[in-house]
Symmetry: C2
Subunit: 394 residues, 2 copies
């Protein structure tokens, strides 16, 4: 390591996953590795229209510096949609705009984590949340996680024993990487337990609106009596990721401190992007757009699950997500998914080996598959090839 | 402070400057406080054209996730312009795109600063650089600064005595807040001194292309034999700030580590904004655009300096910047610019009191004036009012 570097850089060495994922991006590879939305449904024509309008009507303001907390009309609309969809009770002052949801993770880590503080997470959890928190050199305590989310008994135990627990990071809806969703009772139990501790709950909710079946469940934020939950959202999955616009919902005093850090991090999020999304929400029906996304992703999930049933050996299991972008595959314990990856790559198909999603390692017999990005024919072909690789490997 | 918060949050309390600057933003106030470019010259029509084109030709890619290091054609163009303007010798692989220059400061702080490490800076220096570094809890050593920049003897002394010096942060061209520019010999002396130490030199260069007279001088990066200098640039001042696109130039190994932190911070900078700026640079002549900016800002600088000569008492002095956005005013030592601020506000004119630009405080008899944002008639009126406030105050 460069002798000038800070100690935190020991956590930012190139991981052994990096060259693997670079291979997955090669042309000709059917990649289930990323978490990319389907570009076919990006609102390209709508954005062309909107962007001309915004520049014509408010060009000088849309291209100028703006406030760290974000464009007020957009924050109002986000609060209203969240209240409708996730039963929260937010005002615009409870919403701040971020440069993608990733930025919220970076800033929240800075806000509460001293070196050696403890982050509790599901097991497995979102890889890039770990990268964000790593800048603050925390420890991780994985909380036992079953098909319904964090296991309450182990959460109790973790909070009681980890005196330096500061953050509980969870994705209750269509989790990344497993696709699992917490049922209502588990959410209530969770909130009852965490409310006894001074911990910040980060409810990361990038996929919650992409539900293929059943009713949207109350968010943790809507069950939050102590003001200890922040909920993160993003336009990346319901609109497009290229604009890098997300948001954080929380109590005003928390957001004031968050805003001071946000200002130091990048002053503010693109004014033009915020004006454009605000105009889109005014002039178009995003709910109709989301229905199209849901229909497409449901079809692709169905196709991937059917293809896996056909192509995978019986000893391989996988989750059946009710929404979101991912399914999670468990191989027999003797198999290392990184080795399988190289075999699969020979057959021109890629995925993310699952071990990296566990903060404390292990579980190398798992992998994540994305079904939102590839068109149907490539899903079928890719899963068939992966099945072949699996059969040869086992 | 919230008991959940990390120790670094002691540096992110609302400063006593915040309410002051909020007052400066009130309508009806002639504000010389911000660092805003002139919106009259924002390339609104050009962006309308470009944005339709980019969305029509490459919409799906422009709205998708993209790489942390940034759009390759844009990085190539930035390298070429920098080589021409600042005599650097950069390839695209020496350039990474950031979400404004502010993000580079945030990430560089994380990259090298452990708690208690020392940042050397000019005295005074850019306020928001301090905010960015503050997340890492450093100490500051102000290096004595005269009309030509950092005083070499004091820089030598500081580097010899501060065993934990990690960063030397400087703005050699049209500095914020003073408007001062380092002559060539001072740059050479500086590089000779720092090259004896393992310190990262951050050459912040947001204004370098806005030179009103004289030749552009070689950048520190162009004099860098050891690869210890990173140079920061931005489209905020030569194009528009609302898109939040800046860049960092440096050695490839440094940029690799920088990229890992950038990815953890916000994944990547807006794909669409990068495509748009790249298309603008291909289809329009940004050098012609910059000439217009220079003509306008030179006129406003001249007008502000003439107005100050007329309106300010003799015991008040100010700098005569050869470029950039700011002039720096020194009042008699007995005067506190925060008190003057309130008096000026009664007369509907605002500025930034200068004390906050000194990492270790003091120097309350100084203030910063911006001349780029206000139209000529308001510059004249505002400076006349400020002169009245000064005369009443002294």
């Amino acid at each position: 390591m460069n002798p000038m570097f800070a100690r935190r850089m020991s956590r930012f060495q190139e991981s052994d996953l990096t060259p693997i994922l670079r291979l997955a991006a090669n042309p000709g590879i059917i990649s289930f590795a990323g978490g990319l939305p389907a570009p076919e449904l990006f609102p390209v024509e709508e954005l062309k229209h909107i962007s001309s309008r915004v520049l014509a009507d408010q060009g000088k303001r849309a291209l100028q510096y703006s406030s760290s907390e974000g464009h007020l009309p957009l924050r109002e609309k986000i609060a209203a949609r969240s209240n409708k969809n996730f039963r929260t009770n937010l005002k615009a002052s409870n919403v701040a705009i971020t440069t993608g949801s990733q930025q919220s993770l970076d800033i929240l880590g800075k806000m509460v984590l001293d070196e050696g503080d403890c982050v509790l997470s599901e097991s497995p959890t979102y890889l890039a949340a770990l990268s964000a928190f790593n800048a603050c050199l925390p420890e991780y305590r994985e909380v036992e996680t079953d098909d319904k989310g964090m296991v309450s008994a182990d959460l109790e135990k973790a909070l009681a024993s980890e005196k330096r627990a500061k953050i509980v990071y969870v994705i209750p809806d269509f989790q990344n990487p497993t696709g699992k969703t917490w049922p209502l009772q588990r959410r209530k139990d969770f909130m009852e337990i965490v409310s006894k501790y001074d911990v910040l709950v980060i409810e990361d909710n990038p996929y919650g609106e992409l539900r293929f079946e059943g009713e949207i469940l109350p968010s943790l934020k809507s069950l939050d009596r102590r003001g200890q939950v922040v909920m993160l959202g993003t336009f990346s999955k319901i609109f497009c990721p290229g604009l890098r616009v997300g948001w954080i919902c929380g109590e005003e005093d928390l957001l004031a401190s968050f805003g001071n850090l946000k200002q130091a991090a990048d002053l503010h999020t693109s004014t033009l992007s915020q004006y454009e999304i605000d105009a889109y929400l005014s002039e178009y029906d995003i709910e109709e757009h989301i229905k199209k996304l849901i229909a497409l992703y449901r079809e692709r999930r169905d196709l991937m699950l059917r293809s896996m049933e056909r192509a995978f050996p019986e000893e391989v299991t996988f989750t059946r997500p009710a929404g979101g972008l991912f399914t999670w595959v468990t191989l027999p314990e003797r198999v290392n998914a990184r080795d399988l990856f190289l075999k699969a790559l020979e057959k021109k198909v890629a995925f993310v080996p699952g071990g990296a999603f566990f903060p404390n390692g292990g579980h190398e017999n798992t992998l994540r598959l994305n079904y939102s990005n590839m068109p149907p024919e490539l899903i079928e072909e890719g899963i068939a090839s992966l099945g072949e690789a699996l059969r040869e490997f086992l």
